[in-house]
């Protein structure tokens, strides 16, 4: 194992270079032998990197502490479950993981691209190999996961306790999968630019790949929110931290792309815009990697400051210049085939949706970079925090939510007044109805009122679309309603799956609005003493400190506090919260103590209890009690969003695109023939 790891890394480096050269040259000179070689290079690259991953994992599982990486992130008493995730617990290992997954995607993109997109493949192989080679060279020249120590320590330093959480086992790989898979649409975009084949074909080729990475990124973001909520103990799930923002940015841009791509398919417009979005999304993913790894922007999440950041900065600048220079030379080929006919059309509503998404992305980027920008321009560092992001993004987000409802209701090209009336009466009435109910119930927070009533509006649009589609099928095929709904989904996954994603978004917005009503209190309690907290629904919760127990577990000393919870005097359960001091095999403390939060999750609100500490080793404990409304709906909304995305992505079913833009028009159309009176 001493040799296999570094050897396979070097091999991967050479294979990657080979793939990049043969891909570009083979594509340009139309030499089939070189093209074939580039294709095979992606397979070999994946093979070599997989061997490297396996040899690192063997080192981890055998506790080979002569490897610096193994000694730095694991220890003998680390639970097996976390030995797996040790692969990406540190900078160097995560680079290896990243390169390996990229090579896997490179291989899959060669294998699963349909024959009619063959033309692009050599360039796709070349770009993916080039990007992978960059990651490998960072490892080889700056952060080698196979670096050896001059001696073999008896035990490793262990894993940071905050990473010892199931969320941390799944969150980073999901986020990485999302980040990394953006490279495939990017590679196709570069291939399309190089081959000058910029018609609707390349869009069909990248659409699913974009959706794949959008989906992984969504799952990664949601898991990250969940981890922050259950593990970090500050009582929320999103803090606008630079690292969180860095992951959100490509997600926003890809969401914009997934919408605007429909305009290009249907109307041949926005070609330049769509290409720029793909290039931008990928550059933002590299930018995010740079932020997390460089320590340039102070973040509580980031890896240690290291020279690796400069590699990424250099790569980012070169890649940005290279890809946009290429884009510039191809602009004449990207003329729109149609123009906007009316402001009251789906095209226009999608354009506004795109502008809003990019506006949000820009403000998030600006806020994240503001400390650096202000220092460079004015010489003083000025920081902005969550108040800034909320102040800017709440209005923009609400406008976007409104567009989520408006978009699907407006006809393409030009909507007529009767059409608008027919489409908007029910959803608008529903939205107003929700608003009135909330006002009567006593809700006065403007942002929350708007979020929930717009949510009602959007939900009604989706229901209306399903109802109409199902009714049409019922009339046409005589299917019972339930079957008709299922068929509707199965036959036109893209459209109706998209609506389900919209439902997920509505649930998320409503859940976010709930956080406006968060309440919290801190108390120092002796056993038997209680603290009370009033929930936004008017219930009074009483938290009684029952006592403290201390014991040793596998790799930690635990101080657990037990709290009895009563709602309006009625006992509803007990919550435990812990302070954990992790220790090494000899019982010496490692890391600072970490907190385990006690959470009682419900449909209406979460009770969130944090043990702050004990007073001078007595049983008197400091607590923070928080009531977080509607948090459960974040996870449920996220689940719905992912299900919707999977439905869209599921292969087969529905009208399959046959050739050219005409076929994609069919795909973006309707699953059933609607009667003239239906729209």
């Amino acid at each position: 194992m001493t040799l296999l790891g570094p050897l396979s890394l070097w091999l991967a480096f050479l294979v990657g270079l080979w793939g990049a050269i043969t891909g570009f040259v083979g594509g340009a000179q139309r030499r089939l032998d070189l093209q074939q070689s580039a294709r095979h290079a992606t397979f070999a690259l994946f093979g070599a990197l997989l061997v490297a991953v396996i040899s690192l994992e063997i080192g981890i599982f055998r506790h080979d502490f002569s490897l610096e990486y193994v000694a730095a992130y694991t220890s003998r008493n680390l639970p097996t479950f976390y030995l797996w995730s040790a692969l990406y617990a540190g900078q160097k290992g995560s680079l290896l993981f990243w390169a390996t997954v990229l090579s896997l995607f490179a291989m899959l993109s060669q294998l699963f691209t349909s024959r009619r997109h063959r033309l692009y493949l050599p360039y796709v192989a070349a770009v993916t190999c080039l990007v992978a080679t960059f990651f490998i060279s960072v490892m080889l020249f700056a952060a080698n996961p196979f670096e050896r120590l001059g001696f073999t320590p008896l035990d490793g330093r262990g894993m940071n306790p905050q990473l010892q959480n199931p969320g941390m086992v799944f969150h980073p790989p999901m986020l990485y999968l999302g980040y990394i898979s953006i490279t495939i649409p990017f590679a196709f975009a570069i291939a399309a630019l190089l081959t000058r084949k910029l018609d609707a074909e390349w869009l069909v080729a990248v659409r699913k790949w974009t959706l794949v990475s959008w989906l992984f990124l969504s799952i990664g973001l949601l898991l990250g929110m969940w981890w922050a909520y259950v593990e970090l103990g500050w009582g929320g799930y999103w803090a606008w931290d630079p690292v969180e923002n860095a992951a959100l940015l490509p997600w926003l841009v890809m969401t914009a792309f997934l919408h605007s791509v429909m305009i290009q398919e249907k109307r041949g417009m926005l070609k330049k815009w769509n290409l720029a979005l793909i290039l931008g999304a990928w550059l933002l993913s590299i930018f995010g990697t740079f932020i997390t790894r460089s320590g340039v922007i102070a973040s509580v999440h980031s890896f240690t400051q290291s020279s690796v950041g400069y590699f990424f900065l250099g790569f980012l600048v070169l890649a940005a210049i290279g890809s946009f220079a290429l884009y510039w030379t191809r602009l004449p080929l990207l003329q729109a085939e149609a123009t906007l006919e009316s402001m009251v059309s789906r095209e226009a509503s999608f354009l506004f949706n795109n502008l809003l998404l990019i506006g949000i992305a820009f403000s998030v980027l600006w806020g994240t970079l503001f400390p650096i920008l202000s220092e460079a321009v004015k010489g003083t560092k000025i920081t902005v925090g969550p108040p800034f992001f909320n102040q800017v993004n709440v209005p923009l987000g609400l406008a976007l939510l409104a567009m989520t409802g408006v978009g699907p209701l407006i006809a393409w090209r030009r909507a007529s007044v009767p059409n608008l009336r027919r489409q908007f009466v029910v959803p608008l009435t529903s939205g107003v109805f929700v608003l009135l109910v909330l006002l009567v119930a006593g809700m006065r927070d403007v942002g929350a009122l708007m979020a929930v009533s717009l949510g009602g509006f959007v939900f009604a649009t989706v229901t209306q679309e399903f109802a109409r589609g199902a009714r049409a099928r019922h009339r046409q095929y005589g299917e019972p309603t339930a079957l008709a709904v299922v068929q509707l989904l199965a036959r036109n996954r893209r459209r109706y799956g998209g609506y389900i994603v919209h439902v997920g978004i509505v649930l998320l917005f409503v859940a976010f609005a709930g956080m406006a009503f968060k309440t919290e209190t801190q108390a120092t309690l002796r056993p038997g003493e209680s603290a009370t907290l009033k929930s936004p629904y008017g219930h009074v919760y009483t938290f009684t400190h029952l006592g403290i127990s201390q014991y040793n577990a596998l790799n930690r000393e635990v101080t657990a506090a037990l709290v009895e919870v009563r709602r309006d005097g009625k006992l509803i359960g007990r919550l435990r919260t812990e302070k954990r001091q992790h220790v090494d095999a000899l019982g010496r403390p490692t890391f600072e103590p970490s907190t385990e939060v006690g959470i009682r999750s419900g449909l209406r609100e979460d009770l969130y209890v944090v043990l702050g500490g004990l007073v001078n080793g007595t049983e008197q404990a400091v607590y923070r009690f928080t009531i977080n409304p509607l948090v459960w709906w974040v996870w449920f909304g996220g689940f719905v969003l992912v299900i919707g995305g999977l439905i869209v992505l599921w292969p087969g079913g529905g009208p399959v695109a046959v050739k050219g833009s005409g076929a994609s028009r069919v795909q973006a159309g309707y699953a059933v023939k609607l009667e003239p009176g239906d729209r």
Partner: protein, 134 residues
Amino acid sequence: MKAGTKFAMGAVLIVGAVGYLMASGIKQTGQYFLTPSELAQRVSADPSFYDLGMKVGARVVPGTVEKEIATQTLRFHVTDGTVSYPVVFKGLPPDTFTDSVEVVVEGRLQRDGVIHATNVLAKCGSRYEAVPKA
């Protein structure tokens, strides 16, 4: 009027709104991020810097941390090597807070020369990196 022109107006409206929201957001919520030396310099040049919300990035002076858990009060000194300021914070410090960690203190410098913190972030450079190498 052509649809394109109308759209351009709508686009200008959105871009303007984004710009306005950002500018006003930064104006209303932006905070100076200073080191203790920079803070001392600014306070001596301009006394209105007292009682102004800001963030101070510095290192905790080892041995100065006093925790009164009963009243949930945390007292410590921060320094950048040249200038040091005492800090008072009421609340629960983050898990990563120890007596030699890098912190970002959010709060106001009062005329008594003490930073009254509303938030303390422990910026643990070694967050994912176990302990720093000796």
